[in-house]
Symmetry: C2
Subunit: 138 residues, 2 copies
DNA sequence: ACACTACTTTAGAATCATTATAAAGTAGGT
DNA sequence: ACCTACTTTATAATGATTCTAAAGTAGTGT
């Protein structure tokens, strides 16, 4: 597991102690080729299956929140019932498939440049996000 | 109250019986010049103050949900903790002020046209929404 | 290796928004 | 006035998330 060392560095570099649990979570999140979109519930289920460690829900919440704060994860709010997270923290947009509750990345180029013509004095822009909701043609 | 008749028509035309409670809610939502952004909690507080009727939370949820389904209200999800609603149901976008948890309308012209270059076969687009998060310059 | 301290994990309780339930009330047609 | 279907309501239930306080662990200094 050479990735493990990468995870340890990643954690350490941002002031998080590399604990067993955090490394297990890193493996699930970052030991993959493609972007991963998930809810806390998804992540919890995967950890139960793939990891020998029992990791409590509280730890999963704490860690995901820490990762979000360190910009290792991007949070996306689609509806009020739950939050989605994205391992792709680059600037990008999303499709949300309402038929399957699935999130799909949209590259920045896919959306084109967004030129905001309105500014609000005394405020700075933190993010500009486009969410395209789609449904099955039935 | 001539507006009351308008509310009654509005309700009736969409299959909702004009009850005392729904009319009180209509008054708060639509008896105003400007667009109104609110959470269920906001609405509940205003109703407690402005209306003589006691309206239960359940009714507020039911009615707001009915209005949303009839396209009398637009729902906006900013974060997982609660839903925002907008009496402006036209196609438009939003600023969300993270310093004050306040929602501000962005006209379509303010954002410019969004040209989606990616399509997903077999899916139809339900909505395209831009959310611009802002914060106070501190 | 040992001890110390601050950071972590954990189970479980607490909280908050939202939804469901089932009984009592009401609108609109007859 | 009467009926029936739709509404409201208080309350309980649910589900996501956060809090708590005790037990465990990492990293530092010895």
């Amino acid at each position: 597991m050479e990735n493990k060392d990468i995870f340890i560095k990643k954690l350490r570099s941002s002031g998080l102690r590399p604990t067993r649990q955090r490394i297990e979570i890193c493996k699930v999140l970052y030991d993959r080729k493609k972007t991963f979109h998930f809810t806390i519930n998804d992540l919890s289920k995967i950890l139960k299956k793939k990891s020998n460690e029992k990791i409590s829900l509280a730890t999963i919440y704490n860690t995901v929140c820490a990762f979000k704060n360190r910009n290792y994860l991007k949070e996306i709010s689609i509806n009020s019932s739950k939050s989605y997270f994205d391992t792709n923290v680059s600037n990008h947009h999303h499709f949300f498939n309402e038929s399957t509750d699935e999130l799909i990345d949209l590259k920045n180029e896919d959306v084109g440049n967004i030129k905001l013509k309105k500014k609000i004095p005394g405020k700075k822009i933190k993010s500009v996000e486009v969410l395209v909701k789609i449904q099955d043609n039935n």
